[in-house]
Symmetry: D2
Subunit: 139 residues, 4 copies
């Protein structure tokens, strides 16, 4: 369960004027897959209440167009854990061809919902993320 795959079939409303999935829509696909990841990964059950994720950077490569009817498989996994942030890597693969159409690194920090301030990845939360990721953080 280190990596979760989520499938999305490309529909008419996902396309833009070029008849390809629009680049903003790809970010919704990535968010959909991250919700599945959090839902399906039992490690998140130990996540402390009142601590939420705030995405601070997305670096996405658009490698190939995705077109109507394509079935996309999105893999999601934690790939880096640091003291102040962690990174999720996501690949979007066209299931029919096996080709990666887009891939992204999504960096997030933790936010205390009460104070709305960022908090370091310390103690329990760091361990929870290491368990989810299946490797030791590098900080």
């Amino acid at each position: 369960m280190k990596e979760i795959n989520t499938e999305i079939k490309v529909r008419g409303y996902h396309l833009d004027g070029y008849q390809h999935v629009n680049n903003a829509r790809f970010l919704e696909f990535l968010e959909e897959a991250r919700w599945s990841y959090m839902e399906q990964n039992p490690g998140f059950r130990d996540w402390p209440k009142g601590v939420s994720f705030f995405v601070v950077n997305i670096n996405i490569n658009y490698r190939k167009p995705a077109a109507f009817g394509d079935v996309l498989s999105i893999s999601t996994r934690l790939c880096d854990i640091r003291k102040k942030s962690a990174t999720i890597h996501q690949d979007i693969t066209n299931k029919g061809t096996g080709i990666v159409v887009a891939d992204a690194d999504v960096v997030f920090v933790l936010v205390d919902e009460k104070t709305q301030k960022t908090i370091p990845l310390t103690g329990g939360m760091y361990t929870v993320l290491e368990n989810i990721a299946g490797f030791h953080g590098i900080d």
Copy 2:
């Protein structure tokens, strides 16, 4: 100020696989125009705090496709005030051709933000809406 016009230029990300503005996107255009209407119409300054609008029905006709580069003008006006609900009418016109590409009636009720329950359009709020609309409600 009974009617407000809002302009939106059709961009690539507004289109879908048919290369026309998608029918869901038209509802965002209508919402954009309603926010402008509330902002520009001085009558809304007297609106009581803690009372919000909840859309209960949208009936929209899609008459003509809207394509890349079209400049759309959206007119917004209150067209009906009743004891439990009121209706806004919106026309979306292609400025280049003068042709209405879509029109909609949007029915809303009032909701008390604290209790999250609907409240009747009575007393002060009814009068505020009549002033905005420029006519007398029919209930």
Copy 3:
């Protein structure tokens, strides 16, 4: 197979400032369900090439808010076939509570993709739609 059910789980990006599914987003949910309907209903295999659907009216009731984590089940069925148009009825039900949160009638006409003009529902296409619907059209 007269009626198809499609499930969508409400995610963070589906919500708007009221923390409920936005009314434009509901139209994307309906479109998603209509693509499933066409895909799963074997009757559409006989559909003639070069003839597409153009939505001319959507009448949607928003009955209850849908919130984060809700699982929505969308039923889709043809409910009316006439000589110039046909109507699809869609109900969006909260699976957890069994309550209908929204329902819509979606009226469409047929368009010849070459001429981009509407064409009547005649002969073969009328029969295909009757087979899909499981009842006789009223015109």
Copy 4:
């Protein structure tokens, strides 16, 4: 005209469950601003027909949340021209506070619309982009 500013006011439908502008929506804001940039910058009038832009990478920093009613000013400018790709830099600033809420580098390549293959930035197109940018490319 080296840099173009585009204003967008944050509306209810731009927000997500955190009551902030969703990270996918920011990419639509960036696309809106790039269309304005191409429209307002006279250099694009010399752009050859049949050659379109394909975004291959977006690297976006989300620095501060943007909330309902915020007026955002998006600056757009070409910041790098190379032999195979060019880069646009965009800053999204909260006009009320003067604080940059997000900034992005958007890398694009050129695509021949007939062959759907990428083409190098050579000769005339390179010069057009240099004129638009107001500096010499580094390749």
